[in-house]
């Protein structure tokens, strides 16, 4: 278990540095433009203050334990484990690594052996990202390897595969909507989730549609990411059910929709 804790700390450090490198934007109040300074609340545009803010960011980078504690408290799981069975006895660690590294970054991989040092036909692989683990599950489950079909399943709960939330919103969109969440089984033929649905609870989402204390718009100048640089992470590749209407649109159309929608939202506020 200490292995995972260490890994969590490393990931936290990476995130801190990423944030520092990107440079922060300071907002004073809720609207209007504010001077910029990383993680500074009331910084001014003088070079000395900006330098101090940057040094403050550097101080943050040397506290990975803070982030590991925060991640542990949040219950963020580091890595997604796949359990592979029905393997041929000739499959080695390198074979497993070579096969599953094609899908994504592996945090750990191991072929299981019995007490006499002989492989028992099972292995485990831990992916850094859950989307890679699910992609590997779809790609390699029941695929022949050295003449035997691999059986792959995801280990652990709360991984989104056995039960996935489905959200129902009843009512008008003027803030009186009621949000109901039910857990529906997905990939039930592979996972070990139960088919029974737990009782759902209604949640009055009155404040959800108003953006808390309001919203503002800001523009950034000076250093920062390129204007058209988009930062994309791995996509969650769940297969949704055929319920409801799911409009299929291209990324450009979605961008236009979001832009027009956002313009409308700004007008209403």
């Amino acid at each position: 278990m200490s292995y995972y804790e260490r890994r969590g700390g490393d990931r936290g450090s990476g995130r801190i540095q990423g944030s520092g490198g990107r440079g922060g934007h300071v907002l004073r109040g809720r609207s209007g433009l504010a001077p910029r300074g990383p993680l500074g609340v009331n910084s001014r545009p003088s070079a000395r203050t900006i330098a101090k803010s940057f040094s403050r960011t550097k101080d943050m980078t040397w506290r990975p334990d803070l982030f590991s504690d925060s991640m542990a408290a949040s219950g963020i799981e580091t890595g997604t484990k796949l359990y592979i069975s029905n393997l041929d006895y000739g499959v080695s660690n390198e074979d497993i690594k070579e096969l599953f590294s094609e899908v994504g970054h592996l945090k750990r991989f191991a072929v299981h052996y019995d007490g006499y040092g002989r492989p028992n036909g099972t292995a485990e692989v831990v992916f850094t990202r859950r989307s890679d683990a699910i992609a590997a599950l779809k790609r390699y489950n029941n695929v022949l390897l050295d003449g035997k079909a691999m059986k792959i399943e995801v280990i652990g709960n709360d991984l989104g595969l056995p039960m996935t939330p489905r959200i129902n919103v009843v009512g008008a969109s003027n803030g009186r909507a009621t949000r109901t969440v039910v857990m529906t089984p997905e990939f039930s033929q592979r996972g070990r989730g139960s088919s029974s649905r737990p009782l759902s609870n209604r949640f009055n989402n009155r404040g959800g549609f108003q953006a808390g204390r309001g919203r503002g718009q800001f523009q950034s100048w000076g250093r920062g990411r390129g204007q058209f640089q988009s930062r994309g992470r791995g996509r969650a590749q769940f297969q949704g059910r055929g319920r409801g209407r799911k409009p299929e649109k291209t990324a450009d159309e979605l961008d236009k929709d979001l832009e027009s929608y956002h313009a409308e939202a700004m007008k209403t506020d």
């Binding site: 803070l66 949040s74 989104g160 959200i167 549609f209 523009q219 930062r231 979001l258």
Partner: protein, 103 residues
């Protein structure tokens, strides 16, 4: 965890002028706000449907479709905001919705 002031920084499209932020009193309220963004978008596309239903995978696709989104969560012990990325937001959304289902 109640009472942690949360700011959501978001850029919905490639246009830099679309950058905006929203702030909430707690992480749970912020997650509800993100769900509300998606639901409002669905209602704009299908204005005649009285009730909508969607999987969390649809919500994930919506979040991945944003040009950029991140969160700042206030930590009382250090009296500063901690930054979190898109992946953290999706994981917290799953936990949040799972809690709602279990009540």
């Amino acid at each position: 965890m109640a009472g942690r002031h949360t700011i959501i920084l978001m850029q919905p499209s490639q246009n830099r002028a679309s950058r905006t932020f929203m702030d909430y009193n707690s992480i749970n309220h912020a997650l509800d706000g993100i769900c509300g963004l998606y639901e409002r978008k669905i209602r704009d596309i299908n204005p005649m449907i009285p009730n909508i239903t969607y999987d969390i995978s649809d919500l994930y696709n919506f979040i991945d479709g944003l040009a950029d989104i991140s969160a700042l969560v206030y930590d009382h012990s250090i009296q500063a905001f901690l930054p979190y990325d898109r992946q953290w937001i999706k994981q917290k959304l799953f936990q949040h919705l799972k809690k709602l289902a279990q009540r």
